[in-house]
Symmetry: C2
Subunit: 178 residues, 2 copies
């Protein structure tokens, strides 16, 4: 942020506003306080029979690597509708959300992952614009060494653990660990 | 947003960028795309014996009404550490987080609530700067008609239901309902 988005002044300073306890970008010209907050990455692991659906990324970062369909939550969306949208955009598939499995904090880059497990409707999928390919994998076939993000590895491992124990637990973690 | 925060130009237009599917504020001078995303409100319901701790707000909005300690997640925080911070700031109390009880979507105002249940350490609390007072309530004593936000009512009702059933379920909702 180089200029105040409210008045256009370059006179921004990192100061602790009155009544606050941490530094913010504050405009000296119009007094606007510019807050910055973490973003939610929402997604869903689609399940069909004993398999899960992954997408190989056609975009940076992690081009060519496999991922649980996920992306930034948009204004006006619920976390749930964002997860369904991401599955549609990345895999041209519809899911019925089952349960929230992952709360994964990437504090260093201000991202909070919220991922669901969902049923792949009719087992149908295609390839979204942001994907090179999409495919169903059994646990033994998961391309563990070609996963895009640690969040996907976390969600996959916990999903298979949940399935073995017959439970629908939410798993929480921080990366790096707190 | 009246000016580009990157280059200071007033030449902003709401357009759908190439490869995107929704309108964004795009700067015609420097081509920066300004994304806007929902914010996380994180919090925790502190529990002590058969009581829960609520705070009466000393700030707008909902001045004078009761609330589950909650506030915006900050950059650099996990959802968990933000929840502990909010309890500290609003009630001068420490909590040991137990489980995530609430995912509550306020899509219309781009807020996503994530609230935990936690144990109030040693039953100790004070009054934070943002609170007029803090107090422990049994279920029968909750000031239902003086609650600040629907999210707090939702979390409280679900907490008592969980306690009755002996379960630690996550509850999800949208307000207004989807
Ligand atoms: Zn300004
Ligand atoms: Zn610009």
């Amino acid at each position: 942020m180089n200029f105040c988005s409210h008045c256009g002044s370059p006179d921004l300073h990192l100061v602790v506003p009155t009544g606050d306890n941490r530094p913010r970008q504050v405009c000296s010209a119009c007094a606007t306080i510019h807050y910055q907050n973490p973003k939610i990455v929402t997604g869903c692991l689609p399940v069909w029979e004993d398999k899960v659906l992954l997408c190989r990324r056609a975009i940076a970062p992690a081009y060519g690597l496999w991922n649980v369909p996920s992306g930034y939550l948009e204004n006006g969306e619920s976390v749930e509708s964002g997860a369904r949208r991401e599955v549609w955009e990345e895999a041209a598939a519809r899911v019925e959300l089952d349960y929230l499995i992952t709360l994964y904090n990437l504090e260093k880059i201000n991202q909070i992952y919220l991922q669901f497990v969902g049923a792949l409707v009719d087992g149908q999928y295609g390839v979204g614009e942001e994907s090179l390919e999409c495919a169903l994998f059994t646990e033994d076939d998961i391309p563990w060494s070609e996963m895009a993000f640690t969040s996907s590895v976390f969600t996959l491992r916990r999903y298979f653990a949940n399935r073995r124990s017959g439970r629908k637990l939410l798993h929480r973690a921080c990366y790096p660990e707190e």
